[in-house]
């Protein structure tokens, strides 16, 4: 039963990490996009 609990726990950690990665990728890209849009609008305003 112990090896099974370890295997289960390992799978749960793996799926948690994967889920976290997917969400973080989306948030990071969102931030980069917003920063780029701000930079571009600032540049056009200066011109």
């Amino acid at each position: 039963m112990t090896y099974l609990a370890v295997a289960y726990f390992g799978m749960l950690v793996a799926i948690a990490l994967w889920t976290y990665t997917v969400v973080q990728r989306s948030r990071r890209l969102n931030q980069r996009l917003e920063a780029l849009e701000v930079a571009m609008s600032g540049r056009f305003e200066n011109e």
Binding site: M1, Y3, L4, A5, A7, Y8, M11, L12, A14, I15, A16, W18, T19, V22, V23, R25, S26, L29, N30, R32, L33, L36, E37, M40, R43
Partner: protein, 233 residues
Amino acid sequence: MKQKVGEGLLFIGFTGIASTLLLALLWAPSVSIDAFESPAAQRIFYWHVPAAWAAFIAFGALFIGSAGWLFKRSEVMWRLHTAGAEAGLATGLMTVWSGCVWGAAEWGTPWDWTDVRLNTFGLLTLLAIYLVLGRASQPDGVETRDTFAAFGLYGFVLVPITYVATRIWSIRHPGPVVGTGDDGSINGDMGLVLLVGAISFTVFIIGHIMNSMRVTLLEQRLEQLQANMDKVI
């Protein structure tokens, strides 16, 4: 709004999956000692079967996305293709890993190269690995997309083969326990845990597909913005 829905579904699905594992380990009735070499390991079934179900949903999304890109040249369908490949990789690896853990305990070997279902499902997971890694390493373009979409389209043929494999070739993988036409071989409590697992994995995979589609959309927007910026500079 869509981002919040996708993340919410991912979280609800993940919580359901964790609950399924707890129910499987602590609450689901044990199987007959005579029926299995390792009755404790049988509990992995409550993770393995729903994960495989979710993988089939993901590969279905991959098929629809691939066909949609090849025949309609739809950007939404391309995003569905990439999301299906990523979600298929996640759930495919979960299914293969849990199957190997069970096989090692029950059969004494994690893999049987003569079993049709094991090998066709393994090929499906390899296809998902190829599509995810290939897209990450190749520049985006119509030719690249066509190649990957063709693999996604024709690779789907492995899904029905995998589904019917244990009905046609009874080699080592156990046969179906639900949808067999008769009452099946699992009792009410076992069926309930399996149902909780199936619903949780379905919610999780829908959330995953929505999130992955959004990631691809953001990547495309970012590339477009950077290209525009390069033109201005």
